[in-house]
């Protein structure tokens, strides 16, 4: 499944909706106030000019707008938003996430996707369909039969496998449905996976992928960042991987500051010197 080719993962982060688009920009916005706010904090009493946006609500009397989260206050047009600095992942269709297969039966896989619900992966979503529907008459003999088999059993993956999946559907009633069919999706056979706080993921990617490009190049690694806070990476050796992991954790803890990309670049260059890495 193309695991060993160098993946330039920032290309992979497709913007699936305007919300996501804005999310990447949120941390990078020059004009962002960078003011830290907490649950219940009054963001404004001017409810004529402003409306409650992301992460905010009116108070009981509708005379103030207050924050629901610990995060950064942001004013965009006349919406007041709070960009959360802490939080858990909620699956959305189109998201790419890293899943761990934790159980399987003959008809489906059960996956931990770091959310309140486990994800379901059905065999039919693990096989690329050929243009000619293999089950629609037209006997092509054994090739069709084996495709049929793969479509109907769960022999492809095992418990303990790490898969990069896309969320097909997610709603209140049903467990999220996953697929491994698509570019860069599928099982990973090497590398390591780390977790950071999901709200910090846009910061690891950076505006137009600037941060992740920089990380990839400076440490000569492959990194795949996903929406549930999990990051797959592979460097040329353990020392590089350790530096990369530390860099990612540093970005996560400083996500709310300015000048981060430059600072991280400096950090990595200095650390490489200190540790005698190239």
């Amino acid at each position: 499944m193309g695991n060993d080719t160098k993946e330039n993962s920032f290309e992979e982060v497709e913007k699936t909706s305007n919300d996501e688009d804005e999310e990447y920009e949120d941390f990078e916005d020059d004009e962002a106030s960078r003011e830290i706010v907490v649950p219940g904090e009054v963001l404004t009493e001017d409810t004529k000019t402003f409306m409650p946006g992301r992460g905010t609500i009116y108070n009981k009397e509708r005379t103030k707008i207050i924050s629901l989260n610990i995060g950064l206050k942001q004013v965009k047009r006349n919406y007041i938003n709070v960009i959360p600095l802490r939080g858990f992942y909620t699956p959305r269709p189109g998201d790419k996430v890293i899943a761990l297969v934790i159980d399987k039966n003959p008809v489906k896989y059960r996956c931990d996707i770091g959310a309140k619900d486990f994800g379901t992966l059905k065999p039919k979503n693990t096989i690329k369909r050929s243009k000619m529907g293999s089950y629609r008459g037209g006997g092509r003999g054994s090739r069709d039969r084996s495709q049929n088999n793969e479509e109907s059993n769960t022999s492809k993956f095992d418990i303990g496998d790490i898969l990069i999946v896309k969320i097909l559907s997610a709603d209140r009633l049903n467990q999220p449905e996953l697929t491994t069919v698509g570019k860069y999706l599928g099982k990973r056979n090497n590398g390591v996976v780390i977790s950071i706080d999901p709200p910090k993921i846009p910061r690891i990617i950076g505006r137009n992928g600037s941060m992740i490009k920089m990380l990839n190049n400076l440490t000569n690694s492959n990194i795949f960042v996903t929406q549930n806070g999990r990051i797959w990476l592979k460097g040329e050796d353990l020392a590089h991987e350790r530096l990369l992991i530390e860099a990612i954790q540093k970005i996560a803890s400083e996500a709310h500051t300015v000048g981060l990309t430059d600072r991280m670049q400096e950090f990595i260059i200095n650390e490489k010197k200190k540790r005698g890495l190239e």
Partner: protein, 257 residues
């Protein structure tokens, strides 16, 4: 039978100089220190030192409900588990949870549930584990305070924080923030919590005796003290982030990325 019987019922609760036994004035709070993000396995956590009280709170959620039959199809559930360590009290406590712990768990839960949006997380649970490792009066108030902080640290959307404190009457005088001795030996004890979203009382208990005028005064005293507690909570949530911002804003720049 322990050798040294702790003098829990001293004759006087005030010193010669008019101060309380630990040197405080009538409305003075004990030293309070709060910190978030102290248990990195948890989804959110907080630690509080309030006088001699030392309490941890950790949040796990949203996650699956165990046992399954407690899950609600239309909303999430909040479960609070208040426990005390055996060595947290002068007379070693038995390890297993007792009735008092279950009562306090319930009271704290009633207090915190309304500030959450549990309808957004059907079929799941938020579990808050509170562990008192050192106790000295006002543990249910301190626990409510630190649990709210842990939920905020977990990134659970909340309408506001909740702050709690115990006020009371000792030797006929109205005081704020009862210590262990004052709690046991005093005449009245009123633990109270306020939810800042609607500025209304979400936890209220009372043991003792007082008249109407005293009750009004108590409630006013409490409100003042609760604002101070709230400020400490807010500072502890923000301080880590602000410290990091300050560290890097002194460097050249402020130029955005």
């Amino acid at each position: 039978m322990p050798l040294v019987i702790k003098d829990e019922y001293p004759e006087k609760l005030f010193r010669e100089d008019g101060k309380r036994l630990d040197g405080r004035d009538l409305t003075e709070l004990r030293p309070i220190k709060m910190e978030v993000g102290v248990i990195n396995n948890a989804d959110g956590s907080a630690y509080l030192e309030w006088g001699n009280n030392k309490i941890f709170a950790a949040v796990y959620g949203p996650r699956e409900v165990h046992p399954k039959h407690l899950a609600k199809p239309d909303r999430g559930i909040l479960r609070i588990f208040y426990r005390m360590a055996t060595f947290s009290v002068f007379d070693r406590k038995r390890p297993a949870p007792g009735r008092r712990e279950k009562e306090i768990s319930m009271i704290v839960s009633d207090c915190l549930e309304p500030i959450l949006f549990l309808e957004l997380y059907p079929g799941t649970s938020f579990e808050v584990f509170i562990e008192v490792i050192d106790a000295d009066g006002g543990t249910r108030c301190a626990s409510t305070t630190v649990a709210a902080l842990a939920l905020a640290d977990a990134g659970v959307p909340m309408k506001s924080l909740v702050s709690a404190i115990a006020v009371g009457k000792i030797d006929g005088k109205r005081v704020v923030d009862l210590s262990g001795i004052e709690d046991k030996a005093g005449e009245a004890d009123l633990p109270i919590a306020i939810t800042w979203y609607n500025e209304e009382i979400s936890l209220l208990q009372f043991d003792g005796d007082m008249d109407l005028e005293e009750m009004n005064d108590f409630l006013n005293l409490a409100e003042e003290a609760l604002k101070k507690i709230h400020q400490i909570q807010l500072d502890s949530l923000k301080s880590k982030y602000i410290a990091i911002q300050e560290e890097y804003s002194e460097e050249k720049g402020g130029k955005g990325d």
